[in-house]
């Protein structure tokens, strides 16, 4: 059972990535893969701050800021230098690898005996439950913040930017600026996941971000399947489903491992799973239209 609880906790840790991808991919319609770099960047900053025995609560805003900066950089390259968004993201993600490695000085930083958030906050004597409470609080807080943001006038303008650029420009919104802010927001959430994961697993590794974008994509696609199936328009429900998607995604991986699938094949299994989730609703739709 602990095995599955860990999967749920991991899902909570990845809620930042899930919401980040939701913002960049679904709200702004931009395929942003800065994620791999900004996630590790968040973890690297967390490790460095903690290793200097500085409070984890100082690491938190710092991580959000550096994540936002990396996203803003991708946004700047995409909008101002007119580079394809995918390429802009790849370039930033690729260069962040060097930045991360330089900051770390070596490829792995263990976070043993440092005051991480799961040691500082004690909400329960049971370590797993303690993590659960802390992570759950994080998930609820960021969901509330993002949900509120999307409901504000600024948030409606954000949603319109990905929907109809001509319309929102004619209504007085600088879409370039909006996209830069959006990508900054998405990547600060991603970096937040790096912050949580590094402390949860107790180390930061230079390779921890490789392919992590698929975790976000998978979560959003799972959510999208529900959203389309039940015709959901509510912002709050959509956000909730994305967060649920992050947990389901980790649970599916846990089940696969539990079934005895070789851990080396995990990335392959993950990719196939994402593919299947995308295809299933279409199959159903096709068979319905045939009759």
């Amino acid at each position: 059972m602990d095995f599955y609880l860990t999967a749920i906790l991991q899902g909570f840790c990845f809620s930042g990535i899930a919401l980040g991808i939701f913002i960049s991919m679904k709200i702004f319609n931009i395929p942003d893969i800065t994620t791999d770099g900004s996630y590790t960047l968040g973890a690297v900053f967390t490790a460095i701050v903690l290793m200097h025995h500085i409070s984890t609560f100082i690491a938190l805003p710092l991580v959000i800021i550096v994540g936002a900066l990396s996203g803003a950089l991708t946004g700047f390259i995409h909008t101002k230098l007119k580079i394809n968004a995918l390429l802009a993201g790849i370039l930033v993600m690729y260069s962040l690898y060097s930045v991360n490695l330089t900051l770390m000085g070596r490829s792995n930083l263990p976070l043993i005996n440092v005051p991480g958030i799961f040691n500082v906050l004690n909400l329960s004597n049971n370590a797993n439950l303690n993590s659960f409470f802390i992570l759950f609080t994080f998930v609820v807080l960021i969901a509330l913040i993002i949900g509120f943001l999307l409901k504000t006038d600024f948030g409606i303008a954000m949603r319109a930017t990905g929907d109809s650029e001509t319309m929102i420009r004619s209504l007085g919104v600088n879409t370039d600026r909006m996209k830069i802010i959006g990508l900054a927001l998405a990547n600060s959430l991603t970096a937040l996941s790096g912050y949580l994961v590094s402390q949860y697993q107790g180390f930061t590794d230079i390779n921890m971000g490789i392919g992590i974008v698929i975790v976000g994509l998978g979560s959003v696609i799972i959510a999208e399947t529900f959203i389309n199936f039940f015709n959901i328009t509510s912002v709050w429900l959509s956000l909730g489903l994305v967060l649920l998607g992050a947990v389901i995604f980790q649970l599916v991986l846990a089940i696969t491992l539990d079934l005895g699938v070789d851990a080396n094949l995990l990335k392959l299994v993950t990719a196939v799973f994402v593919l299947v989730v995308i295809i299933i609703p279409r199959l159903k739709f096709n068979s319905l239209t045939k009759f």
Partner: protein, 249 residues
């Protein structure tokens, strides 16, 4: 209201396929004037409208709105004065957002989009009241995504959205081109009514010569990026529909 001085715009400059879309146009549109622009495809009508709106910037020349030089202002800055209705209903509204959200954005067109929630009960009622003017029964569907509506309904809402916030200039870029005859008539009547009631300065591009004949108090014929004919209110009244057809003969 709109002053255009010696305006030039070309595309693919310096290449073999260079197009001189606008060739030295000067034009003054007075306040509360309803200007109709006609011309064949490629005559530069849409480019002129895009230049006025600021979605493209000119190579040479000057554009003034309300006596202010806005030549280098982008479209999102000129929205302080200008509201637009596009040829494609999808361009003027955000499909995935609700009618209410679309109207909220339109209601703050000239204002900064703040980090506060602007949709409250009184705003909802205001939107319902405005939409009921159309008589389409859409006032009970304001929570629906606007993408679920027909093209005609969307164009009608886009028109209405233009007067949700302070508006001086209304640009209509073939607003009925994608619509059936009944919706077209309704859109043109609504536009005409709004322009009169709210004392707007309006520019309409159309291929529909009947609309060009029926609406507006000034008409311009464009060809190859230049103004070929310019008839004021009295001259336009004296025109017959056949005269208009003959312009294209």
């Amino acid at each position: 209201m709109i002053g255009i001085h010696n305006l030039y715009k070309s595309f693919n400059q310096g290449k073999a396929n260079q197009i001189n879309a606008i060739n030295g146009i000067s034009l003054n549109v007075n306040a509360e004037e309803f200007l109709v622009i006609v011309g064949s495809n490629g005559s530069g009508k849409s480019t002129l409208l895009d230049l006025i709106a600021g979605s493209i910037l000119p190579e040479k020349g000057k554009i003034e709105i309300d006596c202010l030089d806005v030549t280098n202002y982008h479209d999102y800055k000129r929205s302080e004065w200008i509201a637009r209705v596009f040829q494609n209903p999808f361009s003027g509204t955000a499909s995935q957002l609700s009618i209410l959200d679309n109207f909220r954005l339109a209601a703050i067109r000239t204002q900064p989009k703040r980090l506060s929630i602007g949709i409250n009960l009184s705003f909802k009622n205001k939107v319902k009241e405005k939409i009921s003017l159309l008589g389409m029964g859409l006032e009970n569907k304001i929570e629906q995504p606007i993408g679920s509506l027909s093209g005609g309904q969307r164009q009608a809402l886009t028109l209405l959205m233009s007067i949700m916030d302070d508006c001086k200039v209304l640009l209509l870029d073939e607003p009925t081109a994608a619509l059936d005859p009944r919706s077209s008539a309704l859109i043109m009547q609504t536009a005409d009514l709004l322009i009169k009631n709210f004392k707007l300065t309006a520019v309409l591009i159309t291929h529909n010569l009947k609309d060009a004949f029926n609406y507006g108090n000034r008409i311009i014929l464009m060809n190859e990026g230049q103004i070929m004919k310019d008839f004021d209110a009295n001259q336009k009244k004296a025109l017959s529909q056949t005269d208009l057809y003959n312009w294209f003969a």
